[in-house]
């Protein structure tokens, strides 16, 4: 150990004497992508941040980036001023978004993983089953929102027909698009669309787990649950951790399904149906309060950055093969 320390120390002393040769070729290859990232991401982000510091509304829109500079007043207004129209309803939307993201993520990951485990074995028609199960994912979210909006209708919708008339699970047809049930009316279609792609990803990951591990476990007398807990789950953990993070980000930014289900953006989903992005869109763009809308976007982005940093740090070990 001391020998190694000595070697490193000697090398460090010698380093200044040599001129470092920088190979420009990798940087040259990276340059177009970096430039595109700056143009596509960084410039709009900087411009958006600048907008969040301006009094940019219907009356100053023609001045655009020359609109009056008001510092952090937009942030104070949307976060703390109860009379601010953009702030109105935000706590409810925040609560709904947190519950929605959690529930959709848990359900979609659980169903995706469960079906992937079922498909990770040979049976006739496996390829066909896998293709058919992917169908919900290929339906665009706008279409999902519109279709489920029809399906949830109390009297004409197929869901109540199945629940009440066919399965007799309820004695009356409930409302899904009015009242507290609106929350489930947005969660269920989102899960329905999200789990197939997770299933596909988990299935790919499952097929990379060496079969020898299971054979050895069987020889050691491990039952199915023990094999799942000690082999499958740890092997899938890097994929699960990343997918859960992606799901949470996707669901927090969810917009299309809610917007299309409730009046194609014209309506208000109600106390239990409103999420942050539909609220932000409605109360920023429809109210023409672009500065405040940009401020909310930056708050959301900051929260998401913190979340991703904490998540990555917490699960850093799980995301590597050392786990």
């Amino acid at each position: 150990m001391s020998g190694l320390g000595l070697t490193v120390s000697t090398a460090a002393r010698e380093r200044p004497k040599r001129r470092r040769r920088v190979d420009a070729f990798p940087y040259l290859l990276l340059a177009p992508a970096a430039l595109m990232m700056i143009i596509v991401n960084l410039v709009p982000i900087v411009q958006g941040f600048r907008m969040s510091l301006l009094k940019l509304n219907q009356y100053t829109l023609s001045q655009f980036m020359d609109a009056p500079f008001i510092g952090l007043r937009n942030y104070r207004g949307v976060l703390f001023d109860p009379a601010n129209p953009v702030h109105s309803g935000m706590l409810g939307a925040l609560r709904n978004t947190a519950l929605y993201s959690l529930l959709v993520t848990v359900c979609a990951v659980a169903i995706g993983l469960g079906v992937a485990l079922l498909l990770n074995r040979e049976f006739p028609g496996k390829a066909l089953a896998r293709t058919l199960l992917m169908l919900p994912w290929v339906v665009p979210t706008y279409v999902v929102g519109t279709l489920w909006g029809f399906m949830w209708q109390r009297d004409e919708g197929i869901i109540n027909h199945v629940l009440v008339d066919v399965l007799h699970l309820m004695d009356h047809k409930p409302f899904w698009l009015i009242g507290g049930n609106t929350f489930f009316a947005i969660v269920i279609p989102t899960v329905w669309r999200a789990w197939p792609v997770l299933m596909l990803i988990f299935l790919a990951a499952l097929q990379a787990v060496p079969e020898e591990l299971y054979e050895a476990a069987r020889l050691d007398g491990a039952n199915a649950w023990q094999r799942f807990r000690n082999i499958t789950l740890p092997s899938l953990m890097p994929v699960i951790v990343i997918q859960v993070m992606f799901q949470i980000i996707d669901n927090i930014y969810s917009y299309n399904i809610v917007a299309m289900m409730f009046g194609k953006g014209a309506g208000y989903p109600g106390e239990w149906g409103d999420l942050l992005m539909p609220l932000l869109t409605r109360q920023s763009f429809s109210y023409w309060r672009f500065g405040e809308g940009a401020a909310v976007s930056f708050v959301m982005m900051a929260v998401m950055l913190v979340f991703v940093a904490v998540w990555m740090r917490t699960f850093r070990r799980s995301m590597t093969s050392e786990a």
């Binding site: 219907q58 023609s62 209708q153 409302f175 009015i178 009046g263």
Partner: protein, 432 residues
């Protein structure tokens, strides 16, 4: 030789481009095939102006607003465009539209051929200047089933004579069975719809209330008259005269269901006529419907008057040609022609009374008569944000009247309206 030919071609092209004018025109989907129908509408004018070419772009109502505001902000847009009557003041206040000159105003008799309420929408409240011409009108009326009224023994003339009579009539027709189908009395959308405010406004006006104070600085929804109207309107759903399942639907679905025979009465606009006549020839509703004005309230039977105007974009480089086209489309013959292909009412009084429109079906003549009581919102630039506030909060009435969130009560309704007014006043405060 080749060089000489190329030079000749270049000169020819330059000469052609120097003489020709290309106008760009943005319109909304005023007909089901506007990309085809609007050029047809322009054809006679283009025949008289062979040096002008018009490029028509059909926007849609969902994305049109963003596109137009972006154009107004950047000063880069079409030469002329269609604007909804409630959009026009906002775009004009942004400086996006060219005001008409006194000479141009004189050419259209200072707006006298048009319905005065629609002419008002070409201006900005409290300011001078006219920014365009009314193009077509959206006028609302009660469409009702004559067979259902007859079977229930209800006289339609009496039914729409007062709120009480209307209420009594709805109670009689509710649940009538016609052609084996249970008919619900009335249909209106609850919350998932862009018509929430337009549906309620006539009731408020007819109660003597208004959407805004006279100076347009405050919301007027909390006045006793407005509250009375909102209470009456809501009570129709609470009593089951509007079935609760209607409250989760949008206008489009409800209109389809009315044409299909599910409801006795619906408040809608002239486009419903097209839908009625597109239904199968033997359908019950097609041969058993009529049109009536809004039930008369304590202060009359006004109806919602909206539609679209035509305006010249501030950044246009061909304002003279654009004005000639706007003026042409604001004329009687093109307005009648548009009404016949679109089923939207002409915005000119003489066109709306033209036999080509009124003789198509007795209902068209009645719509023209009802338009005399048409009323538009005050043309304030902040109407867009204000309507969003109203739509959001008034849509929540459905949560109360459907009976699943809270039971409807006047105090609960008043609390909801109080919240609406606070938010609306905040929007208006910043506009002033």
């Amino acid at each position: 030789m080749a060089r000489r030919c190329a030079a000749a071609v270049a000169l020819g092209l330059a000469a052609a481009s120097a003489g020709a004018v290309e106008l760009t025109m943005w319109v909304m989907p005023v007909t089901t095939n506007a990309q085809h129908d609007v050029p047809d509408l322009l054809a006679p004018w283009l025949a008289q102006h062979p040096d002008v070419h018009v490029r028509v772009t059909v926007l849609d109502w969902e994305s049109g607003w963003n596109k137009i505001t972006a154009a107004a902000a950047s000063r880069r847009g079409p030469d002329l465009l269609e604007l909804g009557t409630t959009w026009m003041p906002a775009i004009a206040a942004m400086g996006g539209l060219e005001a008409l000159t006194p000479r141009q105003l004189a050419e259209v008799d200072n707006g006298s051929p048009y319905y005065p309420e629609l002419w008002k929408t070409t201006q900005v409240f409290g300011r001078s200047g006219v920014y365009g011409l009314p193009w077509y009108a959206d006028v609302r009326a009660a469409f009702y089933r004559t067979d259902v009224f007859r079977q229930a023994g209800v006289d339609p003339v009496q039914a729409f004579a007062s709120w009480d009579a209307f209420h009594a009539a709805l109670k009689k027709i509710n649940g009538q069975v016609v052609a084996g189908k249970h008919v619900a009395a009335l249909a209106y959308a609850g919350k998932n719809d862009w018509n929430v405010v337009h549906n309620l406004a006539p009731w408020i006006w007819n109660a003597g209330g208004d959407m805004l104070s006279a100076d347009a600085r405050h919301s007027a929804l909390s006045t006793p008259q407005a509250l009375r109207a909102i209470d009456f309107y809501s009570s129709l759903a609470v009593e089951g005269l509007v079935p609760s399942n209607a409250l989760e639907k949008d206008s489009d679905i409800l209109e389809g269901a009315w044409v299909g025979g599910d409801y006795g009465v619906i408040f809608s606009g002239p486009w419903l006529m097209r839908r009625i006549f597109e239904s199968p020839p033997g359908s019950v509703v097609r041969s058993n419907f009529d049109v009536a004005p809004y039930p008369a309230g304590p202060h009359g039977h006004a109806t919602f008057f909206g539609g679209s105007n035509l305006a010249i974009f501030k950044g246009s480089r061909h304002k003279a040609e654009a004005w000639e086209l706007v003026k042409y489309l604001g004329g009687k013959a093109p307005q009648v022609q548009l009404a016949l292909v679109s089923s939207m009412m002409p915005a000119r009084i003489d066109a709306a009374n033209d036999p080509a429109w009124t003789s198509r079906h007795p209902a068209y003549a009645k719509l023209t008569a009802i338009a005399a009581d048409g009323r538009a919102y005050p043309p304030i630039p902040a109407w867009g944000p204000l309507e969003t506030v109203y739509t959001k909060h008034l849509g929540q009435l459905a949560e109360l009247t459907s009976g699943i969130a809270d039971q409807y009560s006047v105090p609960a309704m008043k609390a909801l309206i109080a919240d609406t007014v606070i938010e609306a006043d905040k929007v208006l405060e910043e506009a002033n």
